[in-house]
Amino acid sequence: MADTMRAQVEDLSPVTVGRRGAPSRPRTATSAMRRALPYLAILPTLGTFLILLGYPVLLVILLSFQKYNLAELFNHRTIWIGLDNYREILGNPEFISVVIRTFLFTIANVALTIGLGTLVALLLDRLGRWMRLAVSMAMVLAWSVPAVTGSVIFQWLFDSKFGVVNWALNTIGLFGDFTNHSWFDSGLSTFAIITMLMVWQAAPFVAFSLFAGIGSISKEQYEAARVDGAGEWAVFRWITLPSLAPLFMILTFLSSIWDFKVFTQIWTMRQGGPNNETVTLAIYAYQVGIAGNRFGIAAAVSCVMVALLLVVLVPYIRSMVRTQEGA
């Protein structure tokens, strides 16, 4: 329908041009102009992609095969060293532990985000109008908070001296004494707070998406299942879950991308500390490159980061393409 309408308008426009255009102008020039017009309109975008996106992509790959430190930057020298940068980082146990840490961090974050988001979506579906509005408002609030703000707030919540969390844990009294407990003394504890921050910020998006998805599942399916005597869990397992499978796929895909290469929340919390125990790949590339001026190595780290992301996500991309084709 839309296509036929579009075709109509295109049939119509030459008439309009013919009527309004000066008859003295050669017809072929006008039609060549008309044919060139769409390309002229997308030219600024294409130029931007090519120069501001294509060139950096090419450059990061080239840099990863070069010795490129501060000296090379100032002397404008190009020294090709083949795979030496990759050999250096892959032979470095510190780098390997950064990679493993990044994966564990991503898996924990994605699992918790999707899990909590699903629970909240199911909750929203069962709430009355006013409670639903209240919970939705809280979700929008958490979702909208900028990463840096979130990081600053969580550092205040978990402040060792006057933080409200230590007070609350002491008041509950079940977990021992938290007076002056410092949350940022160990890597694991710091990661726990970063994860809480990230799940708090990302779960609302997952919850809203899934809630919208639940709403679009036909009510007859639920009724039929209930008539057949299915309980709450069976309905979720056999109707809600399969219907939402493609949505879960996309949400897992997006969350994995976001969490794997996250920088701001980790950096603003403790700059990768304590003792570099919260350094992930994005932080590592920054430390080596921007802070350490070893651009070639940092480029290799960036390339490995993106390559790992691609490898992990290939199954997702493939199944997403398959779903799209099936639909």
């Binding site: 308008v9 450059l59 909240v120 069962r126 709430l127 919970v135 909208s144 707030i153 997006l254 480029a299």
Partner: protein, 276 residues
């Protein structure tokens, strides 16, 4: 009947818990921003400030260079949005309304560009900028944020343009409007809400961005607001009231903008992904 009531009470109880967990951090930021020092530095938290004060906000605004940070952030965000809209609108309208060879390929390119991992491109973009007079200059961020936001801008505007029936343009053209005239007088007014929400999204992206702003700017006077906020421990010491006031000031415009557009953002990313 009573079992049903119990179930309802349980669900509402969980909802109340979820509400508190998600709203509390934001509440605590605003609450702390209005508290005098003796209500902040206390082991028993004060949940409602008994004598609210604006002195924390005065402290935050009175910090050296605050005006610079605010001006830099506003300048970068507005310029990014203006540039992305200008270039993006041109491409979006073309893709939505004109059939041309390579249209599908162009759309694919936009989709790929939207997924570009910018965290991985920091090093090459940093080096390129370092080789130009833009290094350590605020406008360098506009260049970067422009390419961040352009793919989404095109994608989003294209959707809004497609949603406007072609009949309307057609009718205007039959009545003697030129193609541009039809766009200017018929499509553009209908497109305005779409342009506004796309612009807001771009604005939030630029306003919040930290990684590049932190890496590019070496002079304090060239910092943007998020870079300043992230250095609170050096600039505010342990003045949590001042820090929370600064965070509130920085976050408020985002909250307002977000409320305007959030309904549209959920659908956009995952549209059509449910098996009926």
């Amino acid at each position: 009947m009573s079992r049903r009531r119990l179930r309802r009470a349980m669900i509402n109880g969980v909802a109340a818990l979820v509400f508190v967990l998600f709203a509390f951090p934001v509440y605590w930021m605003v609450n702390s921003a209005f508290k005098p020092p003796d209500e902040i530095q206390t082991y028993v938290p004060v949940f409602l400030p008994t004598s609210p004060t604006l002195s924390n906000f005065a402290n935050a605004i009175g910090q050296p260079h605050f005006a610079d940070f605010l001006r830099n952030s506003l300048f970068v965000s507005f310029s990014t949005v203006a540039l992305a809209l200008l270039v993006g609108l041109l491409a979006a309208v073309t893709v939505a309304r004109v059939r041309f060879r390579g249209r599908k390929g162009f759309l694919l390119l936009v989709a790929i560009a939207q997924m570009a991992p910018f965290e991985g491109l920091l090093i090459p973009i940093y080096l390129v900028i370092r080789g130009t007079p833009l290094y350590n200059q605020v406008p360098s961020l506009i260049v970067v944020y422009f390419i961040f936001t352009l793919p989404f801008t095109i994608w989003s505007l294209r959707g809004f343009v497609s949603g406007i029936p072609v009949d309307l343009e057609e009718a205007a053209m039959v009545d003697g409007c030129s193609r541009f005239g039809a766009f200017r007088h018929v499509v553009f007014p209908l497109l305005l809400p779409g342009i506004v929400s796309t612009a807001i999204f771009g604005y939030i992206t630029a306003w919040n961005e930290f990684l590049y702003a932190n890496a590019f700017m070496t002079n304090v006077s060239n910092y943007t607001l998020p870079v300043w906020l992230a250095t609170f421990r050096t600039s505010f010491g342990i003045d949590w009231g001042g820090t929370m006031a600064a965070a509130t000031l920085f976050t408020l415009p985002v909250l307002v903008f977000f409320l305007i557009v959030q309904g549209r953002m959920v659908g956009g990313l995952t549209a059509g992904a449910v098996k009926g």
